[in-house]
Amino acid sequence: MAGDSVMSSYWRGLRDGLPFLIVVGPFGMLFGVLATEAGLAIHETLAFSVVVIAGAAQFTALQLLTENAPTLVVIASALAVNMRMAMYSASITPHLGGLPLWKRGIAAYFLVDQTYAASILDYEKNPDQTIHQKFAYFLGVMTPICPPWYVVTLLGAWLGESIPPSLGLDFALPIAFIAMIGPLLRTPAHRIAALTAAVLALCFAWVPYNLGLIIAGLGGMIAGAQTEVRLGIKP
């Protein structure tokens, strides 16, 4: 029965998504704590996780908000961190592009690092699935990842309210970012992109409105792309 196989795809997805709870749990919690430490109310913190639903971009926006960066710079920088979502969207379209618009809308909203990575792996491993099975699998993966993201953010926000601000959490956000950078440095092109951006950020720190960040980010992207071409790296 087709219905049965759709349900079994859902459960298979759920099982594959479950391990990501280990990542999502502490990460969302940390966002909740740091956001309330930065002065956000609990409902504002939760709204951030529900509306934006993207870890690294949320941390970026939070950091720049605490630096009182101009609104446009906050938005541009956080979206730049999220730019990879457009690549996920492009890459998953051959699999889910045939769905009705509202289902594509749902898939787009829940398209995050973990749901993308698990789904694309499964679609490539099991190419014979129908589009309905693929969508069910996607929803299965999403179930233990996205709703828990909201819940742990809320838990973190409650926790954050009870932590005194003097506890020296000022450096927790930089530490969190640096920890995220390490695993991204996969190829020489990635390493050169990161190094170039870091050096440019120091050189252009004097530029007003935090625009040095945008300059450094663009410089790093160009350096990475150039390195990829010159060294003939397969991404």
């Binding site: 999220n82 390490g182 120091l202 991404p235």
Partner: protein, 107 residues
């Protein structure tokens, strides 16, 4: 920062923008391919913008009013090294935080 219109502008704009990025191809473009040069640059956005954001914070920390602090610098380098070598984000965070807290308690 709480209760300001700016915060809500950021939340809503990021919500729309992030959804737009995710929906761009799935919803609108179909499976037409992006130009290679654009994809090549997009691949390096996260790995460029995150170090650009964090390096000045490490070198000139807010808490010390911009004075370079050996403890924070060491904690940052430990975090980076552990993250790079183990690919484990939480191990890196944990060891970085341990260095930060441990060294602050010692000195």
């Amino acid at each position: 920062m709480t209760g300001t219109p700016e915060l809500w502008i950021v939340i809503i704009a990021l919500g729309i923008g992030s959804f737009g990025l995710r929906f761009a191809f799935l919803g609108l473009v179909g499976d037409r391919a992006l130009p290679d040069w654009l994809l090549r640059h997009l691949r390096y956005t996260a790995v460029a913008i995150l170090p650009a954001l964090v390096t000045p914070l490490v070198v000139w920390p807010t808490a010390t009013e911009g004075e370079t602090d050996p403890i924070r610098l060491t904690a940052a380098l430990v975090t980076l090294a552990v993250g790079y070598l183990t690919k484990n984000v939480f191990l890196a965070m944990g060891l970085g935080a341990t260095v930060l807290i441990g060294a602050s308690a010692l000195f």
